[in-house]
Assembly symmetry: C2
Homo-oligomer: 316 residues x 2
């Protein structure tokens, strides 16, 4: 039995690296995308994501259109996480026997709506029969300067885009079959996440990030990925981590800390990046802490605790 997706991927990676001699033009193994040098100032970015019914989405409360939208959003976000813009995507679908063409049409509606919004051309794909619905999207993007996970250095400042936590709350609302209308932003964020197309140019061109990742597993876990690859640590000011009013309201009523959501919520598709530059807090970008030499530290007021990042693992 496979108990951890992270351990499995690590063991696959070791095997692949052992047998392949590396390539002088391909980088980024273990990053959000594989990076391929086309020429000195032009890089291709490649990523793939498999989404399986009942693992990544539950069709009891996720429409086929939403399932398609989310699958494409996860891919687009991987390209942004490397500082790139998407160019094209290929879509493979495993289709259960009872499905109709109308249902596949709905799924494609979601895929295409997201693709069009993010300037991604659906250039091909494949279909097969399958017991459960499977959507695998592979995406290709480009950048003149890839941003890896590995470039953070002690002293760099840590920033996050938008706010985090809503996706986890949205999932809980949907799972509990609670009234969606009371949590419109949370449910929307979970079902139709919108990767930050609006922020890629300013981040890459004005803020010169030293490392970047998108939040798919949760803020702490994904920041942990940056630190692992950069051989460094972090300190995060919990109260700086932005939360939406809808989440604040829910947490106040339940008398729980918003950070239970903001730090751990996955599938947010917001960006975390590190930079030397001192960026003034604004509507879209917030300073939340610093890169340190080692250790993972959370700071709240005068107290601080050391943690081990741990997050969502599809095999658990």
């Amino acid at each position: 039995m496979i108990t951890s997706e992270f351990k499995l991927i690590e063991s696959i990676r070791k095997k692949v690296n052992l047998l392949q001699n590396g390539s002088e033009n391909i980088f980024g193994i273990g990053d959000d995308c594989a990076v391929y040098r086309i020429s000195d100032d032009r890089y291709g970015l490649f990523s793939t994501d498999i989404s399986v019914e009942n693992v990544h989405f539950n069709l009891d409360y996720t429409s086929l259109s939403d399932a398609g939208y989310r699958s494409m959003a996860a891919n687009v976000s991987d390209i942004y996480a490397m500082g790139g813009k998407p160019v094209l995507a290929l879509v493979s679908i495993g289709i259960p026997p009872q499905y109709t063409e109308q249902m596949i049409d709905e799924l494609y509606d979601g895929i295409l709506t997201c693709a069009l919004k993010h300037g991604t051309f659906i250039a091909g794909g494949d279909t097969s029969k399958s017991d459960k619905l499977v959507v695998n999207i592979s995406i290709y993007g480009e950048t003149c300067r890839p941003v890896y996970r590995k470039g953070a250095e002690a002293g760099d400042r840590i920033y996050v885009t938008g706010n985090t936590g809503l996706s986890k709350l949205g999932l809980e609302i949907l799972n509990k079959n609670a009234c969606r209308d009371n949590f419109p932003k949370s449910v929307e964020k979970h079902l139709r996440p919108d990767p930050r197309i609006d922020l890629i140019s300013p981040i890459v061109n004005e803020y010169h990030p030293t490392a970047m990742i998108d939040i798919s597993d949760g803020l702490l876990i994904d920041l942990g990925h940056i630190c692992e690859m950069s051989h460094c640590g972090f300190e995060i000011y919990i109260d700086n981590v932005p939360a939406d009013d809808e989440l604040e309201g829910f947490c106040a009523e339940k008398k729980i800390a918003a950070s239970d959501y903001t730090l751990y919520s996955g599938e947010e598709y917001e960006l975390i990046f590190t930079a030397k530059k001192d960026i003034k807090d604004n509507e879209h970008i917030r300073y939340i802490g610093n890169v340190t030499a080692s250790g993972y530290i959370l700071i709240k007021g005068d107290s601080q605790i050391t943690i081990e990042p741990a997050g969502y693992d599809h095999f658990r």
Copy 2:
């Protein structure tokens, strides 16, 4: 219920084309690969293939290593079919709950063996839980001159590489649980097909193909795809279509025509191409007929019949 994969793909294609305005740099929709113009004499080729347990492979007689090998071979073959060379691939795996790391290791052995043989770098991937084993491989290759399905013209000559038919016979042997040792080449061709890495350079550089495709559905059906895209027909001299001795021996004993296999066997990963050039028959390339203005005709001795191509459809 979806009754035809071809019709489904056609309806998806229509929808996608309707909503997307086309792209001045992306071509090849409906071909073996999507084609992306990197610069005037450099093109990226993209393809993806989903393989699902019990649809594309049966683990009763296919080892995990063979299943991995075949999945990669199908992808590599798509790149060759466009006149390109593979560069890198991404591998997504849906893993059943009872699987061990050792089993995934075996699967990757097959994937990597095929990838290394064909100069393809495994640059990334994704994993998920799944009820049945799912392997989705996306591949990227390059060429300076893509060969499409659409360029054939009446009067062009039709060529096929190697020989065809063994894969279908191999599948029958395996399905019937007959003695593999009597049909070693057929079983090998089915389980470990080898796309024609050896012939790509001569075909593209010396023979200047007007159209090309790889045989994944069957010689007649795939040639039909060329004719559909090129708005033309074909005439095939059945006796010219090459068959291996192992297939000839089997057919002679059973008193059946070898063409029952050579014309319909899928997953051969040999190439069919059309060209103006008169190429002398050799060990690897055989002249089998001509492109005509319209109609699909099979010629045997003095008699000829008109046919409708029909081939393997995973949804039937």
